[in-house]
Symmetry: C2
Subunit: 243 residues, 2 copies
DNA sequence: ATAAGTTAATTTGTCATACAAATATAAAAT
DNA sequence: ATTTTATATTTGTATGACAAATTAACTTAT
């Protein structure tokens, strides 16, 4: 009796619960900002204990699918997963992949050059006034010589992300966010030296103007220049490190 | 006393533990296939209870960073995260992103066309005999008319992945895996109809020959043909669905 | 002596219960 | 009317116990 046909449940209960809830989120039964039942209620519904439910919820929380708050109006809520929310999640995955698979800087930068060039092409075609405004703001902020290295890096990331967004292709943006992060460790290096900072920002300024003038070829040429420059800096740093 | 300077610990204990362990994995203190201390030991070290430790471990398990086994030789082990191991993790993230952000098929397919063309370019240059062998095997399997729709889909994914791998750029492969998955729901549609199956496999055969002959332009042209064909099928299906 | 079966030990998986901490709501006191 | 206080709700954490899986050691039968 109770002979279930097919693949038997081998995975742990907490995983099964997590999978079911994720399925509900994925197929739209649970929409963004919806509140899940309380942990006790979930425990009764799934006929498992509260610790098991909690383990399941933590699995979803690790994927950024839900957030939790305490108190009467608290509970677990479905997150709305935009590009930003998912990016930090993807970033750790990408960082891990790069570090555990000996991905060379050349592989990263050539991929990024190819994709960002495509972004530039689309951005030149579809950029709106708002896109240009955002780009300019990030550029101005990055030109400020009083900001800290950390702020400089953050502004750098924002600038490149803004270009990706200017392509008005969400899929492309999503992937570019990953690639931008993957190259960030190299970019970070240069944030501490004023001379290099100036070179980067001036390149950004020229890129901005090129996109503004819808000059795709020029924009891509400058991008290539910048990526080559970063690669060169990286090689120099490695040589110094070996000494 | 016990006045800790700086940002106070606001996040939950299980998250703090998870973050510390993840940090250890990321910086290499915990290498692949290393075994973590037992849950009880971790509880003592971090001075928290076992349920808290378990919640932390489930967070890492959800990210595919660790696996757990019971028994004397059991415990939690660090996963080696290659392209395959991370792909299912990325797949759910991508699927969620697509469904929650109204990403159009056009955005997906145009991005994929652009990137896969780049793959073709590199594959034509760098493909080895082993790459060709693998491609041919997947092709032969896909041509078999007796396989189930599910098998057909799986073979389809494997074929495109093999092309990505033939580029010999790990970063590019990693990203392509994501894009292949993103377009899969559309590809799945056609697996149930023999007529469409034949069209797809014949296209794959021509792509294989083109890559074999290092004819980049031809390969890309066929790819464009295939993606347009899928898009067309999708539109027809939607129209039928509306009736 | 070898092979098979049995037992014991270890570790994750699950459960039950209790209490702490945060937080919003309603009631009470100033 | 405003502040304070009490209270209810919900997640966060702790403790202890037992179940299930799995390996290693041991025992027994051939």
């Amino acid at each position: 009796m109770n002979l279930e046909i097919g693949p038997i449940n081998k995975s742990s209960l907490s995983k099964q619960v997590a999978d079911q809830l994720q399925e509900a989120i994925l197929e739209g039964t649970l929409k963004a900002d919806d509140r899940l039942p309380t942990e006790e209620e979930l425990a009764q519904r799934f006929q498992v204990s509260r610790p098991t439910i909690r383990e399941a919820l933590k699995r979803l929380a690790a994927k950024n699918l839900i957030r939790s708050r305490r108190g009467p109006t608290g509970g677990s809520f479905v997150n709305h997963l935009g590009t930003n929310e998912l990016s930090d999640h993807l970033t750790t995955a990408t960082t891990l992949f790069v570090s555990m698979n000996d991905v060379s800087l050349d592989e990263i930068s050539s991929t990024r050059l190819e994709m960002e060039s495509y972004c530039f092409r689309l951005a030149c075609q579809h950029r709106t006034d708002e896109d240009l405004k955002r780009l300019e703001q990030h550029l101005i902020h990055q030109k400020n010589k009083n900001i800290s290295p950390e702020e400089f890096c953050a502004a750098d990331v924002r600038f490149h992300r803004a270009i990706a967004d200017a392509s008005h292709n969400k899929m492309l943006s999503f992937i570019m966010y990953t690639l931008i992060e993957a190259l960030q460790p190299v970019s970070n290096m240069i944030a501490y030296r004023f001379r290099e900072r100036e070179i980067i920002t001036s390149q950004h300024e020229r890129i901005f103007n090129a996109i503004n003038n819808q000059d795709r070829k020029l924009a891509c040429a400058i991008l290539e220049e910048q990526i080559n420059y970063l690669q060169q800096l990286h090689e120099e740093a490695q040589e110094n490190h070996q000494q």
